[in-house]
């Protein structure tokens, strides 16, 4: 089921879709628990877990100390011994605190143990800039995770996808990072009431077109869609693809689109150098070189930490205008 097929009906904002996803994951799996900093009593600083403590009690919805290594370690140990941990790392920036647990333990344990361990772990974390929270509360670090064999990474940018991603992750026998977007917290969308999953590794084609493929993830799909609107007014038909899953990546959908449009533009909020977009561009160059009319374009953040000052942050974060500009440059129009 995709957003397009969902019956037009109940609307939920992104934050409440998160809550519902976690609630249903906990309801359907008695071995699932949720832990993180201020997730229980306070229902998270983002308010995304409100009501879960009341519903599931303190044995299943757990406030941890401020100990990110401990939180991921908890998930590794509990996951490897039969539970289904759902843990929260409040701001994605804080994964720096627990990179060993993520990279050397969570991601590799199964492989190192010759397939003898299973790590059904869900990590929820909030990414992204745009709220003037400066260099340590605004980053998009998904590339770090995608570069690590053993992890799956999904970056849902709609209310529908975020709920689906959480339930999918919770049912998945592998570690999955659900990288949420704080800039989208108030975004409403159709969200079915019953639990549902997303196909792992399947991209969303947000909008069809035949003149240019824009591949964007996270909050940037909304900017890319706006850019596509602008371009449509100029007679350019852009196809917008949200890979949604960055690991594993839906290469086929992207390549098929480029085969049709002959032009590709990759967009994300993370820094451009070494970003997920670099991988996507490389795959297009490898697999669809003959289809391309122009080199693959990229729009992403410049190579600096996220600045605090709103004027700088606005310059820093890509937007529809910049995407449209880059599209025009690739197409040699305007």
């Amino acid at each position: 089921m995709t957003a397009a097929d969902a019956p037009a009906g109940r609307q939920l904002v992104y934050t409440l879709a998160i809550t519902e996803g976690v609630r249903q994951a906990l309801q359907e799996e008695p071995l699932a628990f949720m832990a993180g900093e201020d997730v229980a009593g306070a229902g998270s600083v983002f308010g995304i877990y409100r009501g879960l403590l009341a519903e599931f009690g303190p044995d299943r919805v757990i406030d941890t100390p401020i100990s990110e290594s401990g939180i991921i370690g908890l998930a590794v140990g509990a996951g490897a011994t039969g539970l289904k941990p759902i843990v929260d790392i409040m701001f994605m920036d804080f994964i720096g605190e627990c990179m060993d647990e993520i990279v050397n333990q969570l991601a590799k344990m199964r492989y190192m143990f010759g397939g003898k361990a299973t790590l059904p772990v869900t990590v929820l974390t909030m990414s992204g800039a745009g709220m003037n929270l400066a260099a340590q509360h605004s980053q998009s670090l998904e590339a770090w995770l995608c570069h690590t064999p053993g992890l799956k990474v999904v970056m849902p940018a709609t209310a529908y996808d975020v709920k689906g991603a959480i339930i999918t992750a919770a049912r998945e026998p592998n570690p999955v990072f659900v990288v949420m977007c704080k800039g989208l917290m108030a975004l409403p969308g159709d969200v079915p009431e019953e639990p549902y999953t997303l196909p792992i590794g399947k991209a969303n084609v947000i909008r069809e077109g035949d003149g240019l493929t824009i591949v964007a993830h996270g909050r940037m799909i909304h900017e890319a869609t706006k850019a596509a609107d602008i371009l449509a007014g100029e007679g350019v038909s852009a196809e917008v693809i949200d890979p949604l899953w960055l690991q594993p990546l839906d290469t086929d959908t992207i390549i098929n689109s480029v085969a049709k449009t002959h032009n590709a533009l990759v967009v994300h909020e993370a820094v451009r150098f070494g970003g997920v977009g670099a991988e996507i561009a490389a795959q297009i160059a490898e697999l669809a070189f003959d289809s391309l009319d122009a080199p693959v374009g990229r729009v992403a953040a410049p190579f600096s930490p996220v600045p605090f000052s709103p004027v700088l942050e606005q310059t820093y974060v890509p937007n529809a205008e910049r995407i449209a500009d880059e599209a025009r440059r690739i197409l040699g129009v305007g």
């Binding site: 201020d38 605190e97 600096s304 605090f308």
Partner: protein, 338 residues
């Protein structure tokens, strides 16, 4: 335990403690209002209620001594002599701010005066302070000085649950570095009470695990902090190694901003009991009784600070914004041409 410190605070010290506390209080109250009016972007973690801690410690430090701060960092910078103009300008994201608008509240710094930054990462400060103290000891050795500069990390009760705190404490202790760990125990990490985030009541107990003295003082009394910190700082300066000083304090406002996100996690009675111990009126009352300052003189201090604030906010509001063309400046230090 008796102190090695020679004397009780002079009238000058008492006035200095007061001045620093009053500057913090007014700076923060105005900053909080500006945030709630939407004039100060981002999130501000205010220091209101905890002024005695930063002030009591900072009176002992010079610009050569370093501090590391927290997300709740304005108070530390103000107490270390922060200039309101540069501070408000930073909160407003202006080019004239301490960090040229690049850092904002959570990274506000003044490296020239040894203020190595507020920090958005809980417990990031202690290891950095250990590095600064290592440097202080190293430089004192090669320069043949027997008194060292001291590095003082400030951190909360919640921060002592991060591995970084423990690693720093251990390194400081084994190398006898001139570090004074100042724990601002305000009873909560965000919305979680201390009893739910650690199984000890006194953070100072953690000192024993690293082989350094742990002391507790009343963080609502600037003189108590001044005494406790003074003794520890003097010991650190003269090669006696680190100390963990726990200051029992309280934040009068919410975790973020003045009113926060409206969660009810502290009782009104608790708030009232701590507010009754507000460090500023308590200190003022005492100075009046001792004849150190008159009520009029105290009022004049408040007025002067408020005037400075008004002028500084105006300065900040009229300051230029950073030029987006400069976005990539300062990512790296330019490499010297060979």
């Amino acid at each position: 335990m008796a102190s090695s410190q020679a004397s009780e605070p002079s009238a000058e010290v008492l006035k200095d403690l007061h001045y620093r506390m009053v500057r913090i209080r007014h700076f923060e109250e105005e900053a909080g209002k500006l945030m709630e009016q939407g004039k100060s972007p981002g999130a501000l973690h205010l220091y209101i209620g905890e002024e005695a801690v930063a002030s009591g410690v900072m009176v002992h430090l010079t610009d050569n001594d370093q501090i590391t701060s927290t997300h709740r960092g304005h108070g530390h910078l103000v107490a270390k002599g922060g200039d309101f103009k540069k501070m408000y300008a930073e909160l407003f994201g202006r080019e004239t701010g301490y960090n040229k608008g690049r850092g904002g509240s959570m990274h506000i710094s003044n490296v020239d005066a040894g203020m190595l930054g507020a920090n958005g990462i809980v417990a990031a400060g202690p290891p950095i302070a250990v590095g600064a103290a290592f440097s202080n000891k190293y430089l004192a050795r090669i320069e043949g000085r027997d008194r060292m500069d001291v590095a003082v990390p400030f951190f909360g009760d919640g921060a002592t649950n991060e591995g970084a705190f423990h690693e720093a404490a251990n390194m400081a202790a084994i190398w006898k570095l001139p570090v004074v760990f100042i724990c601002e125990n305000n009873g909560y990490g965000e919305f979680t009470p201390q009893a739910e985030h650690q199984a000890i009541s006194d953070v100072a107990d953690r000192a024993a695990g690293y082989g350094m003295p742990g002391v507790i003082c009343d963080g609502m009394d600037a003189v108590a902090v001044w005494e406790a910190a003074g003794e520890a700082i003097e010991r650190a300066r003269t090669g006696g190694g680190p100390t963990l000083v726990e200051c029992k304090t309280y934040r009068f406002v919410d975790h973020v901003g003045l009113r926060g996100i409206g969660l009810h996690y502290r009782t009104d009675e608790e708030l009232e009991e701590w507010r009754a111990r507000d460090p500023i009126p308590q200190h003022e009352q005492r100075m009046i009784e001792m004849g150190v300052m008159t009520a009029e003189e105290i009022q004049a201090v408040h007025d002067a600070v408020m005037a400075d604030i008004t002028e500084s906010i105006e300065f900040a509001e009229n300051s230029p914004l950073p030029d987006p063309a400069d976005l990539l400046n300062d990512v790296y230090t330019p490499t010297a041409a060979s």
